[in-house]
Every structure is written in C-alpha cells, then in structure tokens.
C-alpha cells in the first residue's frame, strides 16, 4: 500500500476530502436498517484487507493534515492534553504500544530501533527522527502520551483501573464529539457517561464496564460509535462551541449533501501492561452525505436509520434540529429496496 497524504484543512476553508478509495473503506457503522444503543464489542484482531480494522492503529490519507490540525488546537488550548500525575507510567505504556504497532504494521512509514532503554523513533510522514531513553520523561520534548499522540490519528483517553471502575485520568482530546477532557478528567466510567440520555436505565453500561475491565493485553477490543457533524470539523469541543455552533444552522437543501458529515468513531481498547491501565483510542472518520450515497446500500440504510431514530438520541447526538433536512436529502437515495446484512458495500 502506498499512501499519499492529502493537503487539506479541518477548519476555515474546510478543504478536507475523501478519495474514492477512502470512501470505500469508510467504516460505515450500521449493520442493519435500524440503530439500537448497544455495546457491540468485538475483538480488535485485524479485519478485511484495506479496511480500517486491518491494522492496530490505522494510518490513512488524512494522517498529516490531522496532525497539523491537532497542533493548531493544542496551540490555542494546551489543556486538551492532560495527564494526572499517577498516569505517567500509562503514558509510556501507550507510547510503547503505538511505536511497536506502527513500526510493525507500517515499516515503510515508521521505524523503531531499541537498544535496551535507548530508543530511536523515525516517523517519515512527519519528518521526525528522535532518540530517547525509555521511561525517562526528560529525554522527550513532551510527556510520553503527548509525544506519541501528536503523531497518531484519533483522540486518546487513557484510563486508570481501580476500585472496580475505570477512571478518565489522562487524555489527548482534540477531535471530540462535544465533551471536555478538562472537565471530565478524574471522573469514573459512570460519571463521564452521565450526560447520555436514559443511561441510568441501561444495564449496558454496567456490562460494558465489566467487559472493559477484563480486556487483557492479548485481547484488544473495538466498537463503532457515530454522530453527525456539519462541515468536516475535528474540533467539535464544548470549549469551541461558540465557533462551530452557528455552522450547525447553515444547512440548506442545496448544500446539505456537501456540508453534512457522518462522523464515525472507531473505538479500540487496549490493556496497558506496566500500569494495568486501559488505553481507549477514539479514531474519527468523516464522510459527507454526498459521498456516503455513492454506495447505494449505505444511502438506503442511512436514510432508514436516521428517519427512525428517537428524538432524544438525535438530541444527544446534537443533530435534532437538522434531522428533517437530513432525512429529506437521504430519502432521494432510498428506493425501498432491501439491503444486505453487515456494514460492507455490496
């Protein structure tokens, strides 16, 4: 696989775009014509060739632009990356996990050479060649978590496991669906999910917690989550809501196909061996409705899912106000034909 990295932006002129190949590999999150809240967890042990599930940490054509966007967000608000003091070791765990995975999965892009604790890391797409001492923070330009997640697509929550619960005690969060690390840091699993509607009645959160606490080093897991975003914007944080809020009201029947994006999170879960923490990468994929409907099955199915979604879930996901426009647009691509099971294009 040879990767060409797009020149594109996730703000301002929003020049983000998907190549036809990127559309085909988009992780469409609905395996049937309706959406139900579920834990939908499966082992993260590879997947179809070329799919976003194939590698441990997927690198795609948006890599370089996403890292540039992260740097802009961090320059404006350094608190998007935080780590409570006891999470230092987990940060090194995460650095090791990503460096080992990427250098094995993409040897033409990333190289890791280890001589005892003396490590050399080469990141060709970003032009980085650093030598440092493993577990010695002073030998890196940032803390270990910040250093490696400035070079890895997706948000990263790093969770501490104790007292039969998981705690959001560190993270690099610059492309979130409207939650604040600066506010949520230090919360446990139930606390940070408090804003989810009907969460209290749903035993699924307890089952999910039980599952996650038992994820082992050799059994990483994954699930897909989704929402809607107007414009291909990564930084939809509550902090910057006054900036992107007005854009949500800019949709018209004429521009919706181009401006409304389906936002899919590939969430993976990794036991960190030294700290016994849990890494929780949240990788964001964006695809415009007009690109989605180039896959006829997806166009039909997305119409049915959005049409039948209860209003409280649409409110939580932040697109109730645009739901009628979205349904009207997608209806044009739904001829009522049956769809095949599963997420893949026909």
């Amino acid at each position: 696989m040879t990767l060409t990295f797009n020149k594109e932006s996730f703000r301002g002129d929003y020049s983000y775009h998907n190549s036809p190949a990127a559309i085909r590999r988009f992780p469409f999150p609905f395996d049937r014509d309706e959406y139900m809240y579920s834990v939908n967890m499966e082992p993260h042990k590879g997947g179809r060739d070329g799919s976003v599930f194939q590698r441990r940490f997927d690198v795609d054509e948006h890599y370089v632009a996403e890292m540039e966007d992260r740097a802009i967000t961090l320059a404006r608000d350094p608190m998007r990356c935080q780590s409570l003091p006891h999470m230092r070791l987990a940060g090194w765990d995460l650095l090791e996990l990503i460096m080992v995975s990427k250098s094995e999965d993409y040897p033409d892009l990333f190289q890791l050479t280890r001589d005892g604790d003396r490590w050399r890391w080469v990141n060709k797409p970003l032009g980085i060649d650093d030598t440092f001492t493993f577990l010695d923070d002073a030998t890196l330009p940032h803390g270990p978590m910040e250093y490696i997640t400035r070079q890895t697509q997706g948000d990263f929550a790093v969770l501490d496991q104790r007292e039969g619960n998981l705690w959001m005690d560190a993270g690099m969060i610059t492309s979130q669906a409207d939650w604040s690390l600066d506010f949520d840091i230090g919360m446990n699993f139930f606390e940070w999910h408090a804003p989810v509607p009907r969460a209290a009645e749903m035993g699924i959160f307890q089952r999910a917690l039980k599952f996650l606490m038992n994820v082992q080093v050799d059994t990483p897991a994954r699930r897909l989550n989704w929402t809607m975003t107007v414009n291909p914007r990564l930084d939809t944080s509550p902090e910057t809501y006054p900036e992107w809020g007005p854009e949500k009201r800019s949709l018209t029947p004429d521009n919706i196909g181009e401006k409304q994006y389906l936002r899919v999170e590939l969430q993976t879960f990794w036991r960190l061996p030294r700290s016994n923490g849990l890494a929780f990468p949240i990788r964001c994929y964006l695809c415009s409705l007009q690109d989605i409907v180039t896959v006829p099955k997806w166009g039909r199915r997305l119409h049915r899912v959005i049409r039948d979604l209860p209003d409280d879930l649409a409110t939580y996901k932040g697109f109730l106000v645009n739901k009628p426009l979205i349904v009207d647009y997608l209806a044009r691509f739904d001829d009522g034909a049956p769809t095949s099971p599963g997420i893949w294009p026909d």
Binding site: H86, R88, L89, Q161, N214, Q216, V217, P273, R274, N276
Partner: protein, 306 residues
C-alpha cells in the same frame, strides 16, 4: 496460553519452591504489572489441572517468569504435582499474565501486608514501586521461622512463634493521608487485617486484598446445562467449571478462583442449595447466579444457562 520451558526449580523454604519459566527459543516474554498471576496448566495423569500463581519476578525482566508454589498436602494435587513432577527442561503451558491485584497508582504511599505464601504478589510489586520511586512498607507475617523466604531489603518480618507477632494497630496507626493498604494471605488473615483497618477508620477504597481460592471438594452433584442440552455429574474433587470443560462446554475464565467474575453463570432452576465460595457475587445476585470455578451445589438438580 504459551508454551514455556521450566528452566529452574529451587526451594525457598521447606514448603515453598520457586520455578522459573523461559521462552524455549529465548524470546522476550510480555511485560506485566506486579500483582499479576499466570495460570499454570498441569497434565496430572488423566486430569488436566490449572492453578493460578502470582508472578514474583521483576515485571520489567522479559527473560523469564518466576512463581513460588507452596506445597499443600491436603490440596487437590496441583502444588504436589509441581513439587514432585515438574522438572527443569519440561515445556509447560502457561497463560498470559492477568492482573486482579494491581497497585493503586494514585496512592501517596503503599502499605503491603503478607501472610505466609501471600508474600508472592508483593515480591513483584516492590520492584515496580522501586522503579517508579513510590514510598512503601512491606510486612511479612509467618507462624514459624521455617516459613521464612528471602525478602527484599527493608521488609519487616514478624514470626508469631518467636513472639514478634505483627502488631496491626501499630502498623496501621500514623500512616500518612493517601496511604493504601494491600493484604494477601489466608482468608482469616485478610479478614483480621481488613477488620482492624476499618475499625480504625480506613475507608474501603483504600483497602485491597487478594485471596485465591482453591475449589473446595464436596459431595458429587448433578447439573443440567440448558443451552447445551447436557446433564452432567460434578465429581467430589472436581469443580463445576472443570466438569463443564470435561463435557466440552466452554465457559470464559481468568482466575478460576472466584475473583475475576468471568465464569459467572445464570441459574435457571435450583432444587437444592448453592454453596457460594466466591468473592464476586453480591448477596442479591447469589439467588440467581453461580461461579462455577469455586462454588458447589447440594440437592436434586441444578439447572444453569450454559
């Protein structure tokens, strides 16, 4: 599960023996955190035994895993097999490390209290604590000098038959705010330490304990597995989990000792009494669930969702 070679076997005390396992080709083993255990699989004649043992070697040393096994002559036979049958050179099946007794890294100080062979998880944890520079205090309580094993520097030994019985009140008093207490040993010892701490005002979230239960023997009993449409008999020295596995019915597990919760199974009908031996189920769950790794049944028939 991985195949590792037993490379060293040496006594630490009259009843406790240390075993070292290495990769047959010398490949580095996965890192773990102190407090982790591995499942050791033993082919004891026709019986497949699986016992969990805490890792005692330095977690950062990827050249081998070490465990310490206390010989239990009244036990089900696993520790006896390790002492008598396991010999250097053998290749054995060892599970990946699983940690159900991790350090709480938010602690400002760690107070580690071990009884007898319960010292094992702490031997690995003090290496981690040393590496991250966290203050700690390790106490080892034993009944007689014959139970002594080599201890890390700075550890305090309490030998009850030599009159240096552990003074819990003294140890628990005056600990700085943010100290976490860890205790590993017999059920009786764990209860004594936790009761003392609670009585002095230590909150539950600062208290940590680990006790691995061996499945208790008992009368044979009949179980119907509704989903697999099989009825089986659990032998006197067999656990329900082992009986399920022998019948080809898989249940997930991590500890096989009543602590991890993985093998939790719904009870559909119970014509009799369940003897719950686990540390997992809440009292209100015990009416409709069973942990097949350690719990047994007395009565006509138990019907479970397996």
């Amino acid at each position: 599960m991985q195949s590792l070679k037993l490379t060293r076997k040496e006594p630490l005390s009259p009843r406790i023996t240390r075993f070292r396992f290495e990769h047959p080709e010398g490949a580095p083993l996965p890192i773990f955190a102190g407090g982790a255990h591995v499942m050791v699989q033993m082919q004891d004649g026709a019986v497949l035994r699986r016992n969990a043992y805490s890792l005692i070697s330095d977690p950062a040393d990827r050249s081998g895993y070490e465990i310490a096994v206390q010989r239990e002559d009244q036990g089900r036979g696993g520790s006896r097999w390790m002492h008598e049958q396991a010999q250097p050179g053998m290749v054995m099946t060892i599970g990946a490390p699983v940690n159900l007794f991790a350090l709480n890294l938010t602690a400002k100080r760690h107070l580690l209290i071990a009884g007898g062979v319960g010292i094992t998880p702490f031997l690995a944890q003090v290496r981690d604590l040393g590496r991250i520079g966290a203050p700690y205090e390790l106490h080892h309580a034993i009944r007689s000098a014959a139970e002594a094993v080599p201890l890390p520097d700075g550890a305090r030994l309490h030998v009850s038959d030599q009159g240096s019985r552990m003074d819990l009140d003294a140890i628990l008093s005056g600990q700085p705010l943010g100290t976490h207490l860890y205790v590993c040993g017999s059920d009786r010892m764990i209860r004594a330490v936790l009761d003392a701490a609670r009585g002095l005002g230590w909150p539950a979230d600062a208290l940590h304990s680990e006790e691995f239960l061996a499945p208790a023997p008992g009368e044979p009993f009949a179980v119907h597995c509704a989903r697999s449409h099989k009825t089986l008999t659990v032998g006197a020295h067999q656990s329900l989990l082992e009986a399920l596995e022998a019948a080809g019915i898989d249940a997930p597990w991590l500890c096989r000792g009543g602590a991890c919760g993985q093998c939790e199974t719904d009870v559909i009908a119970c014509d009799g009494t369940i003897d719950h031996h686990d540390h997992w189920l809440d009292p209100d769950e015990q009416a409709h669930k069973i942990m097949p790794c350690v719990s047994r049944f007395r009565g006509q028939l138990l019907t479970i969702d397996r």
